[in-house]
């Protein structure tokens, strides 16, 4: 994966960005804003995931079509009837509303996809480690134990086959299942007994005797503060225009979409600017890199 400069920021800034992006992506049903959201999230998703990301984005198209066509079936409001089936109308307005619903869905998929890549487990525990120390410790231990258990399972299988209790390709399913159950049973016993050793060791090193401190590698730098400030300003502008009806869009029973013109353009620019923050940071990084390389 290429280095993502947005991921290098403080986790709190990342979280704030995604909360804003997802909340407004869900709330604003205006087609132009939805398009902006899909564009921004798609570009960032593609940047984070590369070619595999492109494949995932293409996979969303059938889902998009399905949700669009499905909406008029559950939703019969709307004035322009396209056709009727079983005495139920299939309306144009509901179909258009379906496009908006499907777009919101794809938008959420994309933003959450980016979220999963940016806010990894360590960042999450860094954010909430002080708030919920026991739960974050639990989470950290789980992340350590999963590879540990899988490795141990391999060892158990190896040990069993070396004493002639392994299964071959042509063993019956019953044998394979029985052997598998034994392995899982051994693994569970080992993990549970091992956990007692771990906890005794933790206790003898003083776990629970005083308040735990936590260490994080993330510091709020000047860039982080500036970006937080910029994000709050942009969100404020978006909220101002949204509250004044500059982003209203109604589909049912009649289409009534506020045009983006005059003053409302500012709201749109603020929204797009907010969503493009990760992309802008990455583009800036590439340009800086090329400039510094050309100086050599």
């Amino acid at each position: 994966m290429k280095q993502d400069s947005f991921s290098k920021l403080h986790p709190a800034v990342n979280l704030l960005f995604f909360i804003g992006a997802i909340c407004f992506g869900v709330l604003l049903q205006h087609p132009v804003y939805l398009l902006a959201g899909i564009f921004a999230s798609g570009v960032y998703y593609f940047f984070l995931n590369g070619r595999k990301g492109m494949k995932n984005i293409l996979l969303m198209i059938p889902l998009f079509i399905f949700i669009t066509l499905f909406n008029p079936i559950v939703n019969t409001r709307g004035v322009t009837v396209l056709f009727t089936y079983f005495d139920r109308p299939y309306t144009l307005e509901a179909l258009i509303y379906g496009v908006a619903v499907a777009a919101t869905f794809v938008l959420m998929l994309l933003w959450f996809g980016c979220y999963g890549k940016v806010l990894t487990g360590d960042k999450f525990t860094c954010l909430f480690g002080n708030l919920a120390p026991s739960l974050s410790l639990l989470l950290v231990m789980v992340f350590r134990m999963i590879p540990n258990l899988l490795q141990k399972a391999k060892q158990i299988v190896g040990a069993r086959s070396s004493i002639g209790k392994g299964t071959a390709e042509k063993s019956s399913i019953k044998d394979k299942l029985g052997s598998g159950m034994t392995v899982i049973g051994v693994l569970t016993s080992w993990a549970l007994e091992g956990s007692i050793t771990t906890s005794d060791s933790m206790r003898s090193r003083g776990y629970g005797t005083s308040k735990r401190t936590s260490f994080t590698v993330y510091r709020m730098t000047n860039t982080d503060w500036i970006l937080t400030f910029v994000m709050f300003i942009l969100l404020g502008v978006v909220i101002f225009f949204a509250a004044n009806g500059g982003m209203n869009a109604e589909f049912l029973p009649e289409r009534n979409i506020t045009p983006i013109n005059g003053f409302n353009v500012i709201g749109f620019i603020a929204y797009l600017g907010y969503l493009m923050i990760p992309t802008i940071l990455n583009v800036k990084e590439v340009i800086q890199w090329n400039i510094s390389r050309s100086k050599i």
């Binding site: 619903v101 739960l135 789980v142 258990l149 906890s199």
Partner: protein, 234 residues
């Protein structure tokens, strides 16, 4: 009154009605945000209780082992909608009680999504998995119902089909559906039904094959080291 009970009362009497009231005013698909907020508000008192109790090292490590096993049961089985995670979560609830069941369920959903990728449905998953573990803990509390494999298998199947599954399916209403109405609710629940039956069968199978040995192992650890029972002893 205990602090956690006060928090619970505040949540139920004030916070949730307020969220519903304000959420109703949100435009577009604002009901998604309302849904997520309500799940967070419901879950926070449980997590708070867990934190306030200052769980000891032994309890934490055993819960971590159960979560890790459940995550592996979800990630490692390659058949879709046929995962061992529910059975392990429920067995933890049966062995260690409702609170442990809830914590193991909720964290399993959260941790396994770091492998599957976080999605918009994550709060619903945490709620449904946690609620499944909690239900198992309540049903089998104090040995009133015998912990026989076939009883646990029937319980596991029913719990997945009528409790965990539908709770998970409600996420479709909030995420994919254009509005919350009788039609969209029935459509979501109906589309989830085959998946729930498949998951329920896997859970029942796991309970029959794996239920008794795992419970014996957990009971053994519990007895040998006297865990999760007395509050000061650990």
């Amino acid at each position: 009154m205990k602090k956690s009970n006060v928090a619970m009362l505040i949540v139920f009497l004030a916070l949730i009605p307020l969220t519903l009231f304000l959420g109703d005013k949100l435009p577009g698909k604002g009901y998604y945000i309302t849904g997520v907020l309500i799940i967070i508000e419901l879950a926070v008192p449980f997590f708070m209780m867990f934190e306030k109790r200052k769980p000891q090292a032994r309890e934490l490590v055993v819960l971590a082992v159960m979560i890790a096993l459940a995550v592996i049961g979800r990630v490692a089985i390659p058949i879709p909608h046929f995962k061992a995670a529910f059975a392990i979560i429920m067995l933890t609830g049966i062995a260690f009680g409702p609170e442990a069941g809830f914590i193991v369920g909720a964290i399993t959903a959260f941790a396994s999504n770091f492998f599957y990728g976080q999605g918009a449905y994550m709060p619903w998953q945490m709620m449904a998995y946690g609620a499944g573990g909690m239900l198992a803990g309540f049903v089998f509390i104090k040995n009133k119902i015998p912990k026989k494999p076939w009883i646990m298998a029937i319980f596991g199947f029913l719990a997945v089909v009528i409790w965990i599954g539908p709770l998970l399916d409600t996420s479709h209403i909030f995420i994919m559906m254009p509005e919350i109405s009788f039609a969209t609710i029935t459509a979501s629940l109906a589309s989830g039904f085959p998946v729930n039956v498949s998951q329920g069968l896997c859970t029942a199978l796991m309970m029959i094959v794996f239920g008794k040995p795992l419970l014996e192992k957990l009971d053994r650890v519990k007895q040998k080291y006297g865990m999760l029972e007395d509050e000061n002893g650990i």
